[in-house]
């Protein structure tokens, strides 16, 4: 029987780490992810797990030590947020190109400046091209469930890529929710032990990691990473099916909420999807208008074809980005979903809004207005407020 609990998102992820009992966790504190290493350090201090914690002097070193530990043959992980992720940016590429199956618990927070400790996706979106698998959560339950699926994806021999498990700072990381925990023995069985193929501490062979590769070899390395990312699509779904068999909770690349018959759709990542669902229920119940949601769970690899197919029938779609990319034409999710619609020859009108930067609230009323705008756009076939900021106080 699953264990009913009430946990914050940070504690839920820390609990998953406890259940997995990984080998090495280097970490450096940064709000709002600090609690994760704190919980883990407490589990270790009380003898509940025997993970080795490395209290490094920076996030650059936390990812560097994670890379070293993983290359040595250990199951390694770290946690961070915002500027911490930015500081380890160089190392994200090193972890991915060395094909190290490490896991990063990312608690999304706005990048400076101005310095801000609240949720947006500018940190992880900045790392979207680093070669990491990125999986996002709407709720504490999803953050926990995603974390349990991380190592089986990362360590799959056809993948061997690092995985970033993302949740929204404070909103889920500190918000306490009811949660169903999987029993310890089921988790151990589901995640298993890391069985590295090649590693520094293999007494049977010597290994050299991190070469200088000139132009004759560099491009093949990148093609290899791309193949791993292509393979990850299959593996992510396989692991999700195994997870569903264990828990009954179903996961895919994205969640469709009342999207099947929807004429107007929102595409969004993370915790704001919950608010959007409330708006959808309210609109459908009061007006009967067909509104729906596509909530991205897996952003890397990007499920382009599946998104195109899922949105093929809608009249208008609003893609909501929680991070700027200053192209002056939209946000990163907007750019990729609009490309997916184009490739799918989808005729839906598409608009890209920005919301929630630096923790700005988005409300049910905001979503109702988005759906009203979509209806107008679908009728007039004219987009006047492309790339609008939702909830902006002034320009």
């Amino acid at each position: 029987m699953a264990v009913r609990e009430r946990l914050s998102g940070n504690e839920a992820v820390a609990y998953a780490i406890k259940q997995i009992n990984p080998d090495v966790m280097p970490a450096f504190p940064i709000t709002p992810s600090t609690e994760i290493p704190q919980y883990v350090a407490n589990y270790i201090a009380n003898g509940e797990i025997d993970t080795e914690f490395i209290p490094v002097e920076s996030e650059h070193s936390s990812m560097s030590a994670t890379v070293g530990a993983s290359a040595a043959g250990a199951r390694a992980l770290t946690a961070t947020s915002s500027c911490g992720l930015a500081l380890m940016w160089e190392e994200l590429y090193v972890a991915a190109s060395n094909r190290l199956p490490v896991v990063l618990a990312l608690v999304n927070r706005a990048l400076s400046g101005p310095i801000n400790i609240n949720a947006d996706h500018s940190d992880s979106m900045g790392a979207r091209d680093s070669g990491w698998i990125q999986i996002y959560a709407e709720s504490n339950q999803e953050a926990y469930d995603n974390f349990l699926q991380a190592y089986p994806i990362a360590e799959n021999k056809d993948v061997m890529l690092p995985v970033m498990i993302c949740q929204d700072g404070f909103i889920t990381s500190h918000g306490v929710e009811n949660i169903l925990l999987v029993e310890d023995d089921l988790v151990r069985n589901f995640v298993g032990e890391r069985e590295p193929e090649h590693y520094l501490l293999n007494p049977q062979e010597r290994l050299a990691v991190g070469p200088y590769a000139v132009s004759n070899y560099y491009m093949e390395t990148k093609r290899g990473q791309r193949q791993a990312m292509i393979n990850a699509r299959r593996v992510i779904l396989e692991v999700a099916r195994r997870f569903e068999a264990m828990t009954g909770r179903k996961y895919g690349f994205f969640e469709e909420y009342r999207l099947e018959d929807a004429e107007y759709a929102v595409v969004i990542i993370g915790s704001a999807a919950g608010t959007c669902k409330a708006a959808i229920d309210q609109i459908r119940n009061t007006t009967g208008k067909k509104v729906g949601l596509l909530k991205i769970r897996v952003f890397r690899p990007f499920p382009e074809e599946e998104i195109g197919a899922a949105l093929a029938h809608v009249k208008a779609v609003a893609i909501l980005d929680r991070s700027e990319m200053f192209s002056a034409t939209g946000g990163p999710l907007g750019a990729e979903v609009r490309a997916a619609l184009y490739q799918a020859k989808c005729r839906a009108e598409a608009v890209n809004y920005l919301y929630g930067l630096g923790g700005r609230d988005i409300t049910v009323e905001d979503f109702c207005q988005v759906y009203e705008k979509l209806e107008k756009i679908a009728v007039e076939h004219r987009i006047t407020d492309m790339y609008e900021y939702i909830g902006l106080r002034s320009r």
Binding site: S64, V67, S70, A74, L200, L201, P203, A208, V209, A213
Partner: protein, 312 residues
């Protein structure tokens, strides 16, 4: 550990840095690496780490590695943190019964990767007390990118970012004393050495650093023919002058105790070290005598300071 040192015996041990790497003729870095790895006891396993630099790009160019041991290069500024991850992985895998073999952990970085960009990572790894040796092969500038000044560069050196010119006498600042800074981390072993005579000083310090439990730091003066401007065949002579002038004193700090390894019978004037090097050529132009006096004063001051520490 104090078994009689026999150069012939030591030199006949199997090489752990294979020939065929792409380092320059007359490079001190390679000599330092070979000498340190020779101090590993035969049959002992090691993981060798490396910061980005000449050594890395010349000794592990895909698909060829010059290392007979497992090896990891990560980036420029994180050799300390990277090896601390490897060493921690070793402890946990051992604790969990996944490996039984003994391993030693040795990482190499140039002065750029050690004194400067990797300083924080080094300091963190040493303070945490990982059972590893960090070896700096100190050639006194960023040589891999073409001789830019570092905080290890001596005052007045002509580098590509501190060029001697009509109104410049080279680097303005004096060099950072990294071995002393590492000693202030209160780690069990710090050694400063270079290539002298029969390599006994370097060999014994490397052996102590590797086989002392806990964090150890070794600073090895490793001249660079391109950056310093000396004849490749003069490598040993340059190092000898560095020691005999007390520009580069040989010493160690064992459990907080400062010990001089060598006191020259006659301390040579600093000109003897400076003159054979192109990077100090401008100091010998008429009118620059005062600069050499200044250089000498700095050497004297540091030598006296070190002697005072060692007499505690």
């Amino acid at each position: 550990m104090e078994a009689a040192y026999n150069l012939k015996e030591v030199m006949n041990k199997p090489e752990r840095l294979a020939p065929g790497h792409r380092m320059c003729a007359g490079c001190g870095g390679t000599v330092a690496v070979r000498a340190v790895l020779r101090a590993l006891h035969e049959g002992d396993r090691a993981v060798v780490g490396n910061a980005t630099g000449c050594l890395e790009v010349s000794s592990f160019m895909y698909p060829y590695s010059a290392y007979e041991d497992s090896y990891i290069h990560n980036a420029f500024e994180n050799a300390g943190a990277t090896l601390s991850g490897v060493e921690t992985a070793y402890r946990v895998l051992k604790k969990r019964g996944k490996i039984k073999e003994e391993y030693k952990f040795i990482t190499f970085g140039g002065d750029g990767g050690t004194y400067d960009i990797g300083f924080q990572s080094l300091s963190g790894a040493m303070e945490r007390g990982h059972d590893m040796v960090y070896v700096c092969y100190d050639n006194g500038a960023y040589m891999n990118t073409g001789t830019q000044r570092s905080s290890a560069t001596p005052q007045f050196a002509d580098t590509t970012t501190t060029p001697a010119g009509k109104v410049s006498n080279g680097k303005v600042q004096v060099r950072k004393d990294l071995a002393a800074i590492m000693a202030e981390h209160h780690i069990p072993y710090v050694g400063q050495t270079t290539f002298t005579n029969n390599f006994k000083d370097l060999h014994t310090k490397a052996e102590k650093a590797i086989y002392t439990p806990g964090a150890a730091f070794l600073n090895v003066l490793s001249p660079c023919p391109r950056g310093w401007g000396y004849e490749t065949s003069d490598l040993m002579e340059i190092c000898k002058k560095a020691v005999e002038t007390c520009y580069w004193p040989l010493y160690e700090v064992v459990d907080g105790k400062w010990i001089l390894s060598y006191v020259p019978k006659t301390k040579l004037p600093i000109e003897d070290f400076l003159r054979p090097q192109r990077r100090f050529r401008h100091l010998f132009k008429p009118g620059n005598e005062e600069l050499i006096v200044q250089f000498q004063q700095e050497v004297d001051r540091r030598w006296e300071e070190l002697q005072a520490r060692c007499s505690w």
